[in-house]
Subunit: 223 residues, 4 copies
């Protein structure tokens, strides 16, 4: 959330740095409020007020309400690869990397309202006429690559298709976080995701479920 780094580097042709600040304010205010109340129940004014600017400012930066939603969603899709890079950098075995990736995404879903907003907006994507990025595919692709590697190392059950397993894993992860959200406001998301990992990801050689790495990743009070 710091100005440098992940969020809205130098989008568009925003010339003045005040504009960049305003843009980011609006985007994050929107993420906050979309995460909490969804697309339909949020008005432009809500976003503007929450961002501490006026409707006009919002209108200057975004063509319409949908454009804001799209921008939030794109911010999410811009962060995902960064997250993946972070895992890559750990140089783990593929299955451990998979677990680590899912764990980190789960954490982000619990703590980062851009993630929360993006998921919720995608759920409501039919309300948003144009142009949310297609969900799941890049995500599934990410997981599939890791499982392919694992397969080559002979770490999957024989006869298991990495592609199918990736799809199942993504589906289960998505379902688990969704159910956790609906039933308990994502309070239990880490446990539910752990269950998913345990049940679906093959046991890793010499490793317990939940490696030290992924444990380390759990900064917040998971249990």
């Amino acid at each position: 959330m710091t100005k440098s780094g992940q969020a809205t580097p130098q989008r568009h042709g925003l010339k003045q740095e005040r504009a960049v600040r305003t843009y980011a304010q609006i985007l994050h205010a929107a993420a906050d409020i979309f995460a909490a109340r969804g697309f339909a129940e949020v008005t432009l004014v809500d976003i503007a007020v929450h961002a501490g600017v006026t409707k006009g400012a919002v209108y200057f930066h975004f063509a319409n309400k949908e454009a804001i939603a799209v921008a939030v969603s794109e911010e999410y899709y811009a962060r995902l690869p960064a997250l993946a890079e972070g895992v890559k950098a750990l140089d783990l075995a593929p299955l451990d990397a998979t677990v680590e990736l899912l764990t980190r995404i789960a954490l982000a879903l619990r703590d980062d309202n851009v993630f929360q907003a993006a998921v919720r907006l995608h759920i409501e994507h039919f309300l948003i006429e144009g142009g949310l990025p297609t969900p799941f595919v890049s995500y599934t692709e990410l997981v599939r690559q890791l499982l392919d590697e694992a397969d080559e190392l002979g770490q999957l059950q024989p006869g298991t298709s990495p592609e199918a397993l990736a799809r199942v894993l993504v589906a289960a992860f998505f379902g688990a976080q969704h159910i956790s959200w609906v039933l308990h406001g994502r309070k239990d998301i880490m446990e539910r995701v752990q269950e998913v990992i345990t049940a679906i990801v093959p046991a890793r050689p010499g490793g317990l479920v939940g490696s030290h790495v992924s444990r380390a990743g759990q900064r917040g009070p998971v249990l």
Copy 2:
């Protein structure tokens, strides 16, 4: 759809059978249209027109738009047990019964717009102020019971919690059908659900994935 039974059990003594017909018309029109366009994008007039009645008629039978959504959802929750009974009647081994149940629900999701509408409405439940039944719990409970039985028969991996497995299964199933819907309009739902079953339900002794029963179910309509 018979007057007695699951749907609209003698709703406040509808004397004239025309009223019953009108009620059912509205309900099914609503299911159709909710399934296709969601809650927010549907207006009372849309439902009225699609049902071939006037706004006044709708208003007579339902307090408001949400009440219609709730009624559709309740219709769904009334059908679920019936579906479960159907599986029970087959007298299958618990894991086979689980598979059968999931398969049948997937088929219903593909073919029956009450099911489709209910899932979609639940997805948008935050738009619907009051009173959609809490989702997932009865569902998860159903699966858990079957897995408990399987556990007692020693058909689960040692150390596996039936409850956790039930949650994972439900999550994966939900996620799979959702992704299938978003990406391909549920055209590939059966394959995706099969993948889920294969990856999560333990292999049944001497049984291939997809028993004759569930195969048979893949052809005809649900009931």
Copy 3:
């Protein structure tokens, strides 16, 4: 302006007589206010307030603001023939009838806000997306028929085309009333129209400009 007669006989399928009343109220309020301030400067709320109803009522009777304008315009085009009939009934010589017709229309423009509104709306027709009736043509046709008759009676200058003369007459009449409106709020419309008649309509045999009939038509204080 009485309920019976000229205005809004039994439009649409307005079943309840309150509805008919409301419709007429809105229409006349709109005429009033359009006549005074034009299309663009009038809001739906203005009309609703002036009619003593709410926006909802307006929305029930008219699809949008333009539809109101169109209705007012149509009301005008419904009254024109009636006016022409009134002249026909006098059984005057064609040129006298022409004069009488123009005179009566001028009076209506001075006194009747449906006429005023229609003319003004037509002036702003480019603001009104769809469907104002094409102006001038039926009007010109009316005059041309009278001049044709006069021509057959040899009352036009030899070599004069009745059609062209009709066009000129209509143009001059329209121009005169417009200028009178812009410069003097139509206070001097009768004099200006009289000037037009004098200059363009050939002198009638044995008749002075401004026959007794048309004088009689001038109920208000013309001079």
Copy 4:
């Protein structure tokens, strides 16, 4: 269009000639676009874009949107006398001069978008809060002077008031061009104006309708 002269007489000492160019660009872009779409339907951005400048530039030169409209209108009123001078220079008999004047104005209305814009803006003058020059009066005055001269030469019908005839002529001319605009996009304006002249201007001694001069004028551009 030359820098000196009719348009933009040293408007508040524009030092830079770039500014002069920009001013003219905006003015003519505005004329174009006002002529085509009227005052209300044109936005500042439309004008700015069409002129190839930014909103800021527009605001530098004009206080607000109305000021642009007023400037266009004034440009028109600055050109009218020049047009009259051109006719004067031909040294025609007064009635011929009248015809010539009307013909040239008609041509300008057909070909020059400053004229078109001005007429249209005047039509919508009620939308333009302050300060459009009062229309018709200087125009009528011009014609009246010519008809006065003709009267003194005994070229009007006895008993005809030159003033009234001027008013009728202006009214008919205005009406004709307006109707031509509304019905046929001014394609037939020359014919319609010719009809007006034929019907209202007394036949000139030894001259046919449409003198060689005005005929000549029908071909080339106005100036």
